[in-house]
């Protein structure tokens, strides 16, 4: 239905690099970004995390913004850095040359500032200048201002599927003829708030996540941002086209606030619906970038779903969270960039940490980058609140 949607620009910053070249280098060298917590002081600094290498002041420099004019959270700086890359390599001149909008995604918003100054603000107004950066709209508005985008700006927050949903909305805005070009993506910085929340839920891996491994014991939180430029077929410069957004689905599992069903019913529903929307068969998919957080429940649920949907003909599967950690609201976009890279490089991407096959599954995840014909890539993002999103990208 509607015009075709092409990806013409990519931008990313995560624990495995700043930009697509550093990122690909990490995949080729099987170099994980998981390590010790350094940017935040926390009781839980013995738990591995996947931080972006740069301290706050370095991010300010890279983003090239004037801190004296505006207040930038770590969350926003990550977004500006990634969005700038995407904008630049899509050949974007200004926000007015095409009907342009932006769809952002985040779960933490400005929490990195919020948690620093909140207690003080309850006692005095010393840090009142920071109040307006706490909520989830701030990073989107700072990015929109930065590029002069003035219409159709919004932010989605659906836990771990947030930025996948942003890509879906961006695609639909183009298909419905409302926009010709959309900057879509997400950002989430590491915060004590989320670290403590996941710790209390007892789903953090004490040694680093090992997705789809028999002995997996939890997820590893990461941080980062990624953005894509989506354009309609009519306005996209053919030289800039990387791949197509050929299918997508958003469903709700409606099972539990934080867990998914053991039989993977919700995951299967999302994948099946996405295939239908792309008018593809399961056998058309070359590579799945799984949600694969490394928790007992998710990997079982998603693994079973893959078995059911792909029934005997399972494509290459990997979770890249062994490299980047689980970047929460940014995960969908980060992994969408990975999916686009898989198509551009004609490579199935590897996972990390796997040692033994899960007894419930018939497949092992991909362990090395593998050069092969990559035609269609599926990317899964399953979030708290049962929010499941699946994207399909295709070579043009």
């Amino acid at each position: 239905m509607g015009t075709r949607v092409f990806v013409t620009g990519l931008g990313i910053i995560s624990a495995i690099g700043n930009g697509t070249e550093e990122t690909l280098d990490s995949f080729n060298k099987l170099k994980s970004g998981i390590g010790r917590l350094t940017h935040i002081k926390s009781l839980h600094d013995n738990i591995p995390v996947a931080e972006v290498a740069f301290a706050y002041n370095d991010l300010l420099n890279i983003a090239g913004v004037q801190h004296s004019l505006n207040i930038y959270t770590r969350n926003t700086l990550l977004a500006i850095i990634a969005a700038s890359q995407a904008v630049e390599n899509s050949g974007w001149l200004n926000a007015f040359e095409k009907r342009t909008g932006a769809v952002f995604a985040t779960t933490v918003g400005g929490m990195d500032f919020n948690e620093k100054y909140y207690k003080s603000l309850l006692e005095s107004d010393q840090y009142k200048d920071f109040i307006n950066v706490f909520d989830s709209a701030d990073c989107g508005e700072k990015v929109a201002s930065h590029f002069g985008i003035s219409r159709n700006i919004t932010t989605i927050s659906t836990a771990c599927s947030s930025s996948a949903n942003a890509i879906i909305l961006g695609s639909r805005l183009i298909k419905n003829g409302k926009l010709d070009r959309v900057l879509v993506g997400g950002t989430d910085a590491l915060t004590r708030f989320t670290l403590n929340g996941f710790f209390a839920l007892e789903i953090l891996s004490p040694k680093g996540c090992t997705p789809f491994d028999r002995d997996r014991n939890g997820l590893t939180i990461g941080e980062g941002a990624a953005f894509l430029i989506l354009e309609s077929e009519e306005v996209a410069d053919p030289q800039k086209v990387i791949c197509e957004v050929s299918g997508f689905a958003n469903i709700n599992e409606a099972y539990h606030a934080t867990a998914s069903t053991a039989d993977g019913f919700g995951a299967a529903m999302a994948m099946t619906k996405a295939l239908l929307s792309a008018e593809l068969n399961p056998s058309d998919i070359t590579y799945i970038n799984a949600h694969g957080t490394g928790t007992e429940i998710n990997d079982l649920s998603e693994g079973k779903a893959i078995e059911n949907v792909f029934n005997g003909a399972i494509p290459r599967v990997s979770s890249t969270k062994g490299f980047t950690g689980h970047t929460l609201g940014a995960a969908g976009a980060i992994e969408a960039v990975f999916s686009a890279l898989a198509i551009r490089e004609q490579k199935a991407l590897p996972g990390l940490g796997f040692k033994n096959r899960m007894p419930e599954l018939s497949f092992d995840p991909q362990l090395k980058p593998e050069t092969m014909k990559v035609k269609h890539v599926m990317s899964n993002s399953f979030g708290f609140g049962g929010s499941n999103a699946t994207l399909i990208f295709s070579k043009v």
Partner: protein
């Protein structure tokens, strides 16, 4: 890509939850904050589930339940929520637990509830609804994004009925923090909001849900959302830009400002914020019935959801209630209405409604 308002359910600082028409009396409060008049939630939500719910979840579930019942219990093909701040109370609770107890947190539930999509997720869970589900959290654009998405879903033929809500709660901490930014007036009667020329406004909150539908039989008896539009002016509100956006928006409906019968404006009593509205009334909206609503619900990021409810009642009942008109007290019934709101002189939203055929 229009959508019909099949039903609504509203919990607000006016007595709106137990009726579908405009309340007989305006609820007056002497304070700088308006709190919702809430129903007995045990009548609307399974009491066994209530115990774990923060207030905003109760407001969301109750209003959506009212809406669904009034729509004849149709199964929504999509559930879309707009909220500027999400479950703010539980976010604050967990944050203070982390800070005050040096990360030895005492409770995990507030963290689970603090995810912005908790309301939409909980509605899905209770209805066992696996359809499209999404939450928008972008201050003054949150509800408008939800409406636009619902209308697209209907236009794509992916949905016949979509449940859409706008919800935000006011917390004591939020009031305190924003008082540092001179956001609030000193306590006053909400009904005298516009007479007070001091800076600031009155804080509010609310939960308004709508069942939007691709069809309503017969066409003549429906309130229709024709279109919605948002624009962002980070450098401040400029009359030329605003009138240009409104004109273009109306042109997209094959209308000009002369075809517009009524405008419902997000005037909130703060002189700096309201300047652009009064300029519009002087320079642009010459012949329209001019109405305002924030004295009834207060200022909050999804107040346009309350405005949509008010607009739908005005059009549906063919009557303009007393106490909401800007120019004259008694105004003629209107058949179409433009809702225009802005927040922080930067987030502008337009919703165009009409009754029956355009």
């Amino acid at each position: 890509m229009r959508a019909f308002i099949k039903s609504s359910g509203v919990i607000s600082p006016q007595l709106t939850h137990n009726i579908t028409a405009f309340p007989e009396q305006l609820h007056e409060v002497n304070d700088n904050r308006l709190a919702c008049l809430e129903p007995d939630y045990r009548n609307l939500i399974n009491p066994l589930l209530l115990r774990r719910m923060p207030r905003i979840l109760k407001m969301g579930l109750a209003a959506s339940q009212l809406c669904i019942t009034r729509a004849g219990n149709v199964i929504p093909d999509g559930i879309i929520v707009g909220t500027g701040l999400g479950c703010l109370d539980n976010l604050e609770k967990f944050l203070m637990d982390v800070i005050n107890n040096n990360e030895h947190v005492t409770s995990v539930l507030p963290f689970i509830n603090s995810t912005h999509n908790a309301v939409a997720a909980q509605i899905s869970l209770l209805l066992k609804n696996h359809n499209y589900n999404i939450t928008y959290c972008h201050r003054g654009f949150s509800f408008e994004s939800a409406i636009q998405d619902a209308m697209m879903l209907i236009g794509e033929k992916q949905a016949e009925n979509v449940l859409v809500g706008g919800i935000d709660e006011c917390t004591t901490d939020f009031l305190l923090l924003h008082s540092y930014l001179n956001a609030w007036k000193k306590p006053l009667s909400n009904l005298e909001l516009l007479s007070d020329k001091n800076p600031g406004t009155i804080a509010g909150e609310g939960s308004a849900f709508f069942m939007l539908s691709g069809q309503m039989e017969p066409l003549e008896n429906g309130v229709v959302i024709e279109d919605v539009h948002t624009f962002f002016t980070p450098e401040g509100a400029d009359l030329k830009v605003i009138t240009s956006e409104i004109s273009q928006f109306l042109e997209n409906q094959n209308l000009s400002v002369h075809d517009l019968q009524g405008v419902l404006l997000g005037i909130n009593g703060d002189p700096d914020h309201d300047d652009c509205f009064y300029a519009l009334l002087r320079e642009y909206f010459h012949n329209q019935t001019a109405l305002y609503y924030k004295h009834l619900c207060g200022e909050y990021y999804t107040s346009s959801a309350f405005a949509l409810w008010l607009g739908s009642v005005i059009l549906g009942e063919s009557q303009i209630p007393r106490g909401i008109t800007l120019k004259t007290d008694i105004a003629q019934p209107i058949k179409n209405l433009l809702i225009y709101n802005q927040i922080n002189n930067s987030e502008h939203s337009l919703i165009f409604l009409h009754y029956g055929r355009l």
